[in-house]
């Protein structure tokens, strides 16, 4: 087999494995590219890495301040199955006290790409997240001394199938997720560990989509790669309730710049409930597309390494 034929066969195999209905690295569904959101989980398996996410949450309800530095990795095992790993370092300063630093809990996840509906720009994923006990500073930073299992469903929907009369709305897309926490211990140090219902969504207006698929309004780099976004996420305990422990959540308006090899995101963090703190926080994230940086090696699903 000559070199060109071998190359064509390799490309054909790659294309057959990933086109058109199967899951693709990155968040693609038909014409739609979903960027990696920051607060809410992504509805697609991927070979991507956030390195780092720097967060300054709003001051807590008790007045303490915090800085977080997180690293997250998503890796495909097969074109439809992936896993995630996340770990973070934090610094917390209580009112009038010295700063306490250390790691939060280790977070992992196993994901399955349930569907990708290209014509309707719809995408869905089920996952099982695990927050591991005793992997962070339990006493000083309130990292959990118990493991929590969190099954969930993540979805995305682009509005590219709207009629011509609403063409300016086509760049809109929504992603979201629902999940439930199942702690493996019902209480820690006398405090109940409730089951939490977690829900969140992100609304984005994709300027890349506007430029490529609706109307070229003359935007050029870097402006044609911007995706304004607002994210919402909430967590509500529904059993083993402790007085004063109630729904927490944040609203995070921001913007994502999506390049060929990485994206950069920045969001403000606004508490959505009184229990979520007060004031304004913020975050920035540098996020790499490993499948584009290393397309022939570690950017491929592990099942295609050999």
């Amino acid at each position: 087999m000559d070199c060109n034929l071998r190359r064509a066969a390799a490309i054909a195999a790659a294309v057959l494995l990933s086109w058109p209905g199967a899951a693709l690295a990155h968040g693609f569904a038909g014409d739609r590219f979903f960027p990696a959101t920051i607060l809410t989980d992504d509805p697609f398996v991927a070979d991507e890495m956030s390195l780092p996410t720097f967060t300054r949450p709003p001051p807590a309800a008790d007045g303490s301040t915090e800085y977080d530095l997180d690293v997250d990795l998503s890796k495909r095992l097969t074109p439809d199955i992936g896993f995630t790993v996340g770990y973070g370092w934090k610094s917390v300063r209580p009112p009038g006290g010295p700063s306490v630093t250390g790691f939060g809990p280790l977070r992992t996840g196993l994901q399955y790409q349930l569907f990708v509906d290209a014509p309707h720009e719809a995408i869905g994923l089920i996952n099982l997240g695990v927050t591991w006990g005793h992997t962070g500073r339990v006493a000083a930073l309130a990292a959990p001394d118990f493991t929590t299992l969190t099954p969930g469903f993540d979805f995305g929907k682009g509005f590219g199938d709207l009629p011509d009369s609403a063409s300016w709305l086509r760049p809109f897309a929504v992603t979201g997720n629902f999940s439930m926490d199942f702690p493996t211990k019902t209480e820690s140090a006398g405090t109940p560990n409730p089951n939490n219902f977690n829900y969140g969504f992100a609304i984005e207006y994709s300027l890349p989509y506007l430029q490529c698929c609706v109307k070229d309004i003359g935007l050029r780099p870097p402006f044609n790669q911007l995706i304004p976004i607002v994210e919402f996420a909430f967590s509500t305990p529904f059993n083993r309730l402790t007085p004063g422990v109630t729904t927490t959540g944040t609203i995070q308006p921001g913007i994502i710049w999506a390049g060929s090899y990485f994206q950069i995101g920045a969001e403000a963090i606004l508490p959505a409930t009184r229990a979520s703190g007060h004031g304004i926080g913020g975050l920035v994230q540098l996020h790499f597309y490993l499948d584009d940086i290393f397309p022939t090696t570690i950017g491929k699903p592990i099942s295609e390494w050999w």
Binding site: T101, V214, K215, F262
Partner: protein, 122 residues
């Protein structure tokens, strides 16, 4: 804190330094422009992408309002312009036309898209 931050930033820069390799090909611009109205029928549709394309796996079609093909089927990627995809058009009356493209970048990443342009009116 300083050591942790240094390690993370070093890792980030190492990963970033691995670029550039070819990546997903996105539409950069097109002629006729996406969503535009042109006074006279163009002889061809040309699309410029952000990455080089694999000719054997990249295509573009143009259809009229009834879904009938109006392109000549002569899709080509000029040899010295691997980021450019072009197809000739039949003589077209005024109306709205849809361009559908499916491409594979030189590192095998597939992408697709579609847009319309209008002849006359506008």
């Amino acid at each position: 804190m300083r050591t942790t931050l240094s390690l993370i930033l070093t890792g980030a820069l190492t990963v970033g330094a691995a670029a550039p390799a070819p990546a997903h090909a996105f539409l950069d611009h097109a002629s006729p422009a996406v969503g535009s109205a042109v006074p006279t029928a163009p002889a061809a549709v040309t699309i410029w992408f952000t990455q080089g394309l694999e000719p054997a796996f990249s295509s573009v079609t143009v259809t009229d309002a009834t879904g009938q093909r109006v392109d000549l089927g002569n899709v080509q990627i000029p040899p010295d312009h691997a980021e450019q995809l072009q197809v000739g058009l039949k003589p077209l009356p005024p109306g709205t036309y849809r361009v559908n493209w499916h491409v594979v970048s030189v590192d095998t990443h597939p992408t697709q898209g579609s847009f319309t342009f209008q002849i006359g009116g506008g």
